[in-house]
Symmetry: D2
Subunit: 185 residues, 4 copies
Amino acid sequence: MGKVLILYHSQTGNTKEMAGLVAAGAKKVPGMEIKCLSIKEAKPEDLLWCDGIALGAPTHMGVAPWQVVQWWTKAVGKTWRHIDGKIGCAFSSAGGWGGGSEMTVQSLLKILMNFGVLVFGATDYTGKHTTLHYGTVAAGKPKTAREKEACRRLGRRLAEWVAVLHEGRKEQSPHQAKYKRFKHN
Amino acid sequence: MGKVLILYHSQTGNTKEMAGLVAAGAKKVPGMEIKCLSIKEAKPEDLLWCDGIALGAPTHMGVAPWQVVQWWTKAVGKTWRHIDGKIGCAFSSAGGWGGGSEMTVQSLLKILMNFGVLVFGATDYTGKHTTLHYGTVAAGKPKTAREKEACRRLGRRLAEWVAVLHEGRKEQSPHQAKYKRFKHN
Amino acid sequence: MGKVLILYHSQTGNTKEMAGLVAAGAKKVPGMEIKCLSIKEAKPEDLLWCDGIALGAPTHMGVAPWQVVQWWTKAVGKTWRHIDGKIGCAFSSAGGWGGGSEMTVQSLLKILMNFGVLVFGATDYTGKHTTLHYGTVAAGKPKTAREKEACRRLGRRLAEWVAVLHEGRKEQSPHQAKYKRFKHN
Amino acid sequence: MGKVLILYHSQTGNTKEMAGLVAAGAKKVPGMEIKCLSIKEAKPEDLLWCDGIALGAPTHMGVAPWQVVQWWTKAVGKTWRHIDGKIGCAFSSAGGWGGGSEMTVQSLLKILMNFGVLVFGATDYTGKHTTLHYGTVAAGKPKTAREKEACRRLGRRLAEWVAVLHEGRKEQSPHQAKYKRFKHN
């Protein structure tokens, strides 16, 4: 069984809501074990446990929130040089469009890269003007169907790559996907 | 008279529309001379002419489009080490939210920084879920009133900083602004 | 056989020298087919051919050079949505330390991410004060033994991840490496 | 009198050493009041006090350290929307070249931009292969004369821009500099 960790920090509940949707998306790939944990619940051992990780946080000042950076700083001792080769992605909710959500996602991805994790975005569109090319972003809560699907799609893609790359289940490749990947409206 | 250059590249017309709004915003500051030029029209000398520059481009692959990078590469000889201390900002239109517009703005700002330009974003909100903390972004055309205002606000702020910092007109500081800077709905 | 493409652009020969070292590193993994091509030689079909790609370019203005962005822009038609799931990394030579090489590597990685490629850095140190946490960088040519090894290590890691993740050869994991990964002097 | 704040966080003493050099550089501009404070000493009021700020931190995981982000998060209430238009720059010491120092500088600049601060790098070279195009970086301590000068130059430039842009002392512009700005060896 592939193992997927959704690790998030939330202040207002918006990022938590995204995390739940990411987890729901990951569950669409059969044979996946999923954990969805806030940084208050998660332990460094959860990083060792998983094959793939989706890291989520609210956007604050365009960088990763201090609570998230602190969590990873404390996790270094038990995990750095032990999780190279796992697969990762990121998501963030901001106060508004243009408010730094893409840049926060980039900060989260840099943390993952620093640990040797392979990170990805998705070429998919989940509806008009809605994509997740470098991770999933939202202004406030994900509200429209296409914004919610962008969260689910991120989790699904993560689970797909875990299945394909860690387990050799090539039939799970998005190139074989039966669902619509490039819906523009 | 302060001098403001809006320098843009547009493929579909979306970024051009943003550029026009940025220019309109800059015009709200009295005593400003404004040029709004595409990279097909602009010359390196226009960089030397201006006190402030707003650089705009469509988002493509999350980086500055090659036409824009090429324009600046060709401009190096006449302008590098001659425009340090000017003031700059950036804007971009992407195919969708999450499509890399903030990251493209970051690439544009890095080009400006490389030339010694001081770059800024704005703390302002122009409506619910709409801000320009690191520059102005849009998915497609700016459509709502608040998205259009985020373009105008960027140009206005640029002209304000030119007035305050290059001309010593402290009364133009946004801290003295009569208009509403933090409208949330 | 796993397939690794080193795709580079070079102006002064520095990045070309890095590319050669990256290729030499990739060859250390048995059963790998390697192509090392400049963007003048490479075709979009080479992207379809490979399992892993190392993308290299000189640092100019802190962003990806226009020639590289142009090459990828032209490649979009034949390759976008066809290379999701491949593995990628990046390298860059700058005029000096602090000159934007890490940021150029980030721009190159964003292009790869835009195409759905999974990107990585390495936790390894190849000597005192020399690492490749987000890709390999150099000021001018790679000169010291540890700088050259940082190039080779990037290529080797790329080939290792191709072997492990695309071919299921788990014995090639860096976690099993016989060579010294964390040499500090 | 112009007012310059050097605000830093240091773990090993390396960034503290950089901070001292940045302060020494700022002092070369006449008529400048300088404060050099660690985040343990500094208060939000120090942000209100200054005209220009150099923000420094060690590189850790390629992002701004949690202690720095936490400091700014706590400062938001008293300072956000009150320091727009000040001038800023950043510096960082990493464990090694390629270790994320440029990216950490970018994270620090994003925090400043979020507060409406105008940020800059310098076109200067302080010796062969040593520049500060987006801020000053070091691997470990700044060791060579040119690396130390890159720290001083950042502080000097900050004080120069404060003098020119906030005080109208145009004779302090780097375009009028008597010192050598582009020494290549």
